[in-house]
Every structure is written in structure tokens, then in C-alpha cells.
Amino acid sequence: MDLIERANKEAVRRMLAGDPVLVDVIPAEQAIPTLGERMILHAGPPIDWARMCGPMRGAVTGVACFEGWTANLEAAAEQAAAGAFALHPNHHFDAVGPMTGITTRSQPVMVVENRAFGNRAYCTINEGLGKVMRFGGNDEEVLNRLRWLRDDFGPAMGAALREMGGIPLKSLVARGLTMGDEMHQRNVACSGLTLRHLAPALARVTQDRDALARALAFIGGNDQFFLNIAMALGKAIMDPVRGIEGSSVVTAMARNGTDFGIRVSGTGDTWFTAPVEMPEGLYFPGFSAADANPDMGDSTIVETIGLGGFAMGAAPAVAGFVGAGAASEAGNFTRTMAEITLGENPEWTIPALDYFGVPTGIDIRLVVETGLAPTINTGIAHKEPGIGQVGAGVVRAPLACFREALLAFAETLGVL
């Protein structure tokens, strides 16, 4: 018992000590030298092509075309089925990706450095809403946007960040929370704050006025621009918490559209998985729950650090949007998540909850004991490849993987 308490104290200390700074944008193969040809990183725990859901298959085939590994989507699908691509989780390469989470060598990735611990985490640039690769989109429009991000926007943003010495993210998130963001479903404030920081440096490093205007408009027109930054930030904060002997703190939650997986500090890098659940939410006109793909993406790293569904109280608007109930009940989500966490973040506070700090450090023991599964705010992809986002909602992490993790954790301590 003492060992667990000490280990968890250390885990929470490391989480709160994290000092994430957005420092650069570089090609993925530069950030992750082992990311080679015909290698595709995806969201969630490990999965092979045969078990992949529709939108993730759509993204795999799309990115194979984007990387020039195949001529068209059909060929890509055949090759994928034949095992021509090495498929790995982002999490195994210091990376995270939203929804399908597809990351390949030539895509630009944002670099978040945790200056307290020296580690780095990576995430691709958010493509915007609608038909995009993270929701399984893979047509020319989607691929052209990825090319622009790779050739123009990514290098420019990287240069700007290097020029300005990076953007400290901890205080930016703190301000975002006071402005109605929870950093998963809603990133309006943080995206705007990022643009405010980035704009002068972007102007200094971009010669072409039209290119500058397009870059600024891209950020300004994407309410979810900050999501991918928040995800890299989450990964950068949680990685130093991995592998603390005796700690029952969750270090990652991630979904591949088929399985939901968690990792726990005291059980190292083992994934504990269970079938993903269906989100409950609101759908874009013309779509319904019948079109929805089950829960997907590495974005639950945001909940892992106490944001997203855990910070719902900061974003009452989200509570209404995702059909989670009345806006006045938003705070209940946050308070309920405090039932399964070890502490509160003294810097990330929610004014409407009398500056209650976001619930920090998910303890698998508390999840199993209370039967309260982490609440996740999420986008909803169409279940078929190539269609994209159809809605947004709230989903629960499946309890089974927490139970499984707890048994394995107990085994590491010799109590089973």
C-alpha cells in the first residue's frame, strides 16, 4: 500500500512538474528516425489491417497514395491486405494522432518538448473539419491539403517557432480553460491564443504575403487547430510518468476504432485492451448513429492529463453540444472524474467550479472500485472509408481494460 501511495505521488508530481513547450515543426522522418518507407503509424493500441475499421483503412490507403507508395486507393488496399505496410501505434514512436491518427515519414509533425524532463512528443498538424484524413477521408482534396501542409505550412510554422523560441503551453492551456475550452471537443480559445503568439513570427519568416495570409487564415479558420498541439503536449507530459514501479496511474488511453487500450505506469508499456464503445452524440444533418464508427483516436491522451471530458466544467457549451445533458451539468462531469483521479491540477483551474483544478492522475484502482469509466469527448467518424466526420459526442472508456490492467498490476506487486 505504501509503495503504491509513494509511486502514485511521484506519478502525479511528474505530471504537474511537466513543462511542455511547442518548439518546432519538422518532417516525421526527422523527428522519428526509425520511421521508414512503407511504415504507417496509427492511433490506438496495435492492430492489423484485417481488424481495422473502415475509416482507418481509408486513411491507410489515402496516406499510401500520398506517400507515393501506390498509384491508387484500390492498389493500396490490396497491398495493405497483403501486408506491404508495417503498421505500428503512434504511441510506440513518441507520437500521437487524432482519430485515425495516421502518421508517415513525410508528414510534418509538431514537436512539443517537456523542458522539465527533456523528452519530446510529436503530432501531425490538424487538417481542419469535415472530410479529412483523420476521419478516414482520402480523396484528392484531402491529399492536396496534406501536400500543402507538408510543403508550405509545416516548414513555415517550424521556422516561426524556431524564430520565436517556441510557445510555452502550460500557461496557454490555463488561459484556455478560463475561456471555455476543454482542449478536446473545443479548442476555440487556445487556437486563437496560438495564432496570437504565432502570427508575428510567421510574418517575419514568410516572404510571400499570399502564403502568409493563407497560413494565418488556415489557423484562424480551424477551431480545432490546437487539438493536435494539446495531444502532443499530453504525450510529452505523460511519457515521463511511464514505468514507475508500483504506480497505478494511467499513462495513456488510446483507441484504434476497434480496441480501446490503456497503459499503466506500474505495468510498463503493456496495452490492456477491450472493445471500443459507441459514442453518444449529435450528428451532422443527414447522418445518424447508424453511420457512426466506434470510438477512435489517440486524442484521449488529453483526458489522461485531466482535460477533455475531465475538464467539461470549463466548457459548458460542449456539454450541450455533445448531448451530455444541460450546460449547467457540465461541472458534474469534472467532479465525477475527480472520483477516479488522485489529485487536482493547481494551475489548470476552472473558474465556474470555484477554481477547482482539473482532475489529475487516473488511478485504475479508483476506476475499478467506483465503476466510473473515464468520460471522453470525441468526434465521430463515418464507419465507411472516405467519408469523414459525421458528428461529435461523449463516450466512456470500457471498464474491462481497467479491470484487466488492475489484475496485471496486482500481479506485478505479487498480491495475486
Binding site: A326, S328, E329, G331, N332, R335, T336, A338, E339, L366, E369, T370, G371, L372, A373, L399
Partner: protein, 509 residues
């Protein structure tokens, strides 16, 4: 079990057992419903529902953290309708329309964060989980009241030992009543503060004595429940002894009353030794116990009424109540007394009165000297309807008075029954209107030459149901209402011409 049963399972939907019991009753009361229950899907509860003919494969698949709704109705359509109503009851928000919904903590840990000054946890979860929750509360420095039953004796002993080391009180398990610092917990009544401290292994015993003390103008410092098994040899009276220490040290407590079934001999000896070491005065009411060797500062009484009178310094209760005169107004009874009690200790007290009057009495919960129940027998039968055999799969009759209906109707129709003896227990936690429930049943089934019906009301006028109002409803339905449960038993005997202390064969009528 002729009707159609449907089950619905709500995964991971938790409500505490008192809330569910009350809800179950509301649902079961609806037209066309034969039986209904809402329970957490623990193995024990599922067995209960199965036994009650309320479990289908759907409910069988539920786990401990899932809520199972079982409804048996006269048609499938009706069952489904009522299920929908039950579900909407569950979903009905607790708060006021439009106002922000109050957040309720789901764990002791979170509750303590919200109310860090708390010093007591009331635990009412399924028995399988109760000991674990109690332990968590103790380790967070809280005293514990365990309303839950079905906790193993070994778990009770371990908990109480741990509590003793921590200097915390474990009231229970199966502790139905306590009043701490004037705060009523679980089944309790609104009684004034005062200088009498109660310690009781019996819930209705505590309720009757506290209400009678209030009736006699006194008040309570605290009423501490200890749970039905505390005075067994295995538990050794650990909580009772700690409660004695606490009340002995409490400057607000001048006199202490101990209420229980007869304790194990070794435990009784330890208790009396501890009492002898106190500078305060004591009333001992071990219902049905024979001779005790008491220390000088303690007096022993046989009934709850006598316990209250002694605690009040000799004030007589029920002055003006004359059972013989009252009995003379009632048609002379023939046959036996059937007592249908919702309170176990009230049933025991009635047995004491009957025995003192030289009457042979049978009961499903016999006190020493009473005989076990003989369903075909023609003698007096005093039945505790709160005993396990009646509450399996159903709420306690203090919450759900319908449990008594069938027996009451049978008694009203029986030519063997001369007098029906009832208790009506009100207060916090009890049914909202038990007398209002009884009255129409009595009116509908009463025969002109049928049994006399006698009752008493355990409660105070400060209770939500109001003692006087409840008594008035009973009287309007033709019930003779006695001022105390003991008086009601005496009146029952008087109606049959068996006045206490006299030879029952010497009928005055």
C-alpha cells in the same frame, strides 16, 4: 406467480438500497402489477429476485454494479408500460426544474473532499460491499453506521476490532436506528434533545423508548445503535462497550438506557462490570432476560415502556389509559390474539407482557419461554413481519406496509382470532402514511362480529407523519389505539378477559 415477468438491467447504475426499496414499493403499487423490485445485481439480490419470481435471464446476467428492474404484471403490455414508468422515475432529476443540478459524490473519498468536517458515514450498500466501504470510512477517520445487513460475523468482528484500535464507533451492521447529536439516522424519530442516552441492539426498541421518553417530557443526548449481533459472544459487545465509554464521558448524558435481547452470559457480565464502574445511573432492558445480578447504579426493567418510565425518573406513561374500561367498550372477544408486528422488539415486548399475564404465546421470533410458531395452532401468535422470512425480496414492512396486508386480511376473516394487535412505526425512513394504508384494508375486510383491532403508534408529533394524525386515522377506522406498545398488548389481553397478573381463566365478562 402467474403473471408475466420482464427484466431490465441498467449497467453501472447505482442507487442505495433504501432509495431502491422505496422506489420498488411505488412501482409495485401500480395497477396490474403483481410484484416489482429494483435492486443492484449482486448474487444475493439476484437470488432474492429469483425467489420472488422476478428474475429472467436478462436480470441473471447483471453484475453487482448494475441495477436490475424486475416487474411481474398481469400482462406483458402492462409490464412494459410500468417498466417505462420505473425507468422515468430513475431518470427524474433530483434538482428543481431549471436550477443547476446538485452534484452528489459517489464515493466516501469524494464526499469527504466536499464536506471535510464530516465525522460519520452511513453505509447502506449491498451486504457484500458494506464491510469494504465501512473499512474505507474508518480509515478516513469516520465513525460508521452500517444500515446494511448480510455482513458476515467474521467481517463484523474484524471491523469492530479495527474501529476500536482507531477509536471509532461501528454502529451495525444491520443497525436501523441512531440519533447522534440530535441528528436522526436511518429509521429514527424527531425527539427533543435531553439528558438520556440510549444504547440499543434493536432498532424499533430504540425508536419506541426514544418516542416514549419524548412523550413523557424528556429528551435524548444520543441514541447509539450497535447492530443485532454486537452482544453475541463472538463480537463481545465491542460497540456497546465503546458506546458506554462515550456516553459515560459525555457531560450531556445523565442517565443511560441499554436495550437488547438477552446478551450472551459472558458479554452480559462484562457489560455489567463496566456499568458498575460508571458514576451514572442505568436502566437495563434485556427483553426476555431472566434474573440479572445488577450493580447498585443499575435497575432492570422488562419492557420498553418501563425502560422509558425509569429513564424519566419514574414518570408514569399512559396515565388515564385504563385497559379494562376500554376493553369493556369493545365486543367481548373470542379466540386468540394475533399480533402482526413490523418492529421486532415491539413483538418481543408484547411477548413479555403476555408471558407476565400467564399466557402461552407463540412467535416466529420467540423470546425465552415462548414457543415457535405453529401455523395451525389456536393459541396467541405474535409475528415479527420484519424477520428475514418475510422480507426476502421485499422491502421491510416499515417501508412497505403491504407486507402486512395478506396476514391482516387472513386474521380479519379468521374465526380463531379474537384480537388483532398491530404496531405502527413512523418517523424518518418509514412509510409516508402507514395508518392511511391500514385504514382502507381494515374497512374493506372487517366483519361486524370479527376480531377487535388494537394498535399503538411509535412516533412523535414532530415526525413527518405525525403521531396524533396517525392515531386519528386508525381510530377513524375503528382501531383501539393504546398509548404505548406495551399498553396495546395489555389491552389485547383485557379484551379477552385476561388482565395481566390475573389467572386467565378468571374471565370477568
Amino acid at each position: 406467480m402467474s403473471g408475466l415477468v420482464i427484466n431490465e438491467v441498467r449497467r453501472g447504475f447505482y442507487l442505495d438500497s433504501v432509495a431502491l426499496m422505496r422506489l420498488s414499493r411505488g412501482i409495485a403499487e401500480r395497477d396490474g402489477v403483481e410484484e416489482a423490485a429494483l435492486m443492484m445485481g449482486t448474487p444475493a439480490n439476484k437470488r432474492i429476485m429469483d425467489d420472488a419470481g422476478l428474475l429472467t435471464a436478462t436480470g441473471q446476467a447483471a453484475e453487482g454494479g448494475d441495477l436490475v428492474i424486475g416487474i411481474r404484471a398481469d400482462s406483458h403490455a402492462r409490464a412494459k408500460e410500468v417498466l417505462q414508468e420505473a425507468l422515468s422515475e430513475l431518470d427524474k432529476p433530483a434538482g428543481h426544474g431549471g436550477a443547476a443540478v446538485q452534484w452528489r459524490p459517489r464515493t466516501t473519498r469524494a464526499a469527504l473532499k466536499q464536506a471535510p468536517d464530516s465525522n460519520l458515514a452511513l453505509i447502506s450498500v449491498p451486504g457484500d460491499f458494506a464491510a469494504a466501504e465501512a473499512r474505507k470510512a474508518l480509515r478516513r477517520g469516520l465513525h460508521v453506521m452500517m444500515f446494511s445487513d448480510n455482513v458476515s460475523l467474521a467481517a463484523e468482528v474484524a471491523l469492530k476490532q479495527e474501529a476500536k484500535t482507531l477509536g471509532r464507533l461501528v454502529m451495525g451492521p444491520d443497525c436501523g436506528t441512531a440519533i447522534i447529536n440530535g441528528v436522526p439516522l436511518a429509521f429514527a424519530n424527531a425527539v427533543p434533545r435531553g439528558s438520556v442516552g440510549l444504547i440499543g441492539a434493536s432498532g424499533t426498541g430504540l425508536q419506541e423508548v426514544s418516542c416514549l421518553i419524548a412523550q413523557g417530557g424528556g429528551g435524548l443526548s444520543h441514541a447509539i445503535g450497535v447492530g443485532g449481533r454486537d452482544l453475541k459472544e463472538e463480537v463481545g459487545g465491542m460497540t456497546t462497550l465503546m458506546a458506554l465509554d462515550a456516553l459515560d464521558a459525555d457531560p450531556g448524558t445523565k442517565h443511560i438506557v441499554l436495550i437488547s435481547k438477552p446478551p450472551a452470559a459472558g458479554v452480559a457480565a462484562r457489560l455489567l462490570e463496566r456499568i458498575g464502574a460508571s458514576g451514572k445511573s442505568f436502566t437495563i432492558c434485556f427483553i426476555g432476560a431472566s434474573d440479572l445480578t445488577l450493580p447498585a447504579n443499575a435497575r432492570s426493567v422488562d419492557t420498553l415502556k418501563a425502560a422509558a418510565e425509569d429513564a424519566l425518573g419514574g414518570v408514569a406513561l399512559g396515565v388515564g389509559f385504563d385497559p379494562v374500561m376500554m376493553a369493556a367498550r369493545a365486543p367481548a372477544g373470542r379466540g386468540a390474539v394475533w399480533g402482526l408486528f413490523t418492529g421486532g422488539t415491539l413483538c418481543a415486548e408484547a411477548q413479555v407482557i403476555f408471558q407476565a399475564a400467564g399466557q402461552v404465546v407463540a412467535s416466529n421470533a420467540p423470546i425465552p419461554g415462548a414457543s415457535p410458531l405453529d401455523p395451525g395452532g389456536s393459541g396467541h401468535q405474535l409475528i415479527d413481519l420484519g424477520a428475514d422470512e418475510f422480507t426476502r425480496g421485499r422491502p421491510h414492512p416499515m417501508i412497505d406496509p403491504t407486507v402486512r396486508d395478506d396476514a391482516l386480511v387472513e386474521a380479519l376473516a379468521s374465526s380463531r382470532v379474537g384480537v388483532i394487535l398491530l404496531d405502527v412505526v413512523v418517523g424518518f425512513g418509514a412509510h409516508a402514511d402507514p395508518a392511511g394504508h391500514l385504514a382502507p384494508v381494515l374497512t374493506a375486510h372487517r366483519r361486524a362480529d370479527g376480531p377487535v383491532v388494537i394498535a399503538s403508534v411509535t412516533g412523535t408529533d414532530a415526525d413527518p407523519q405525525g403521531r396524533t394524525a396517525q392515531a386519528a386515522k386508525l381510530e377513524a377506522a375503528g382501531v383501539m389505539v393504546a398509548p404505548t406498545n406495551a399498553d396495546a398488548a395489555t389491552l389485547a389481553l383485557a379484551c379477552l378477559g385476561c388482565v395481566p397478573g390475573r389467572d386467565p381463566t378468571n374471565r370477568s365478562a
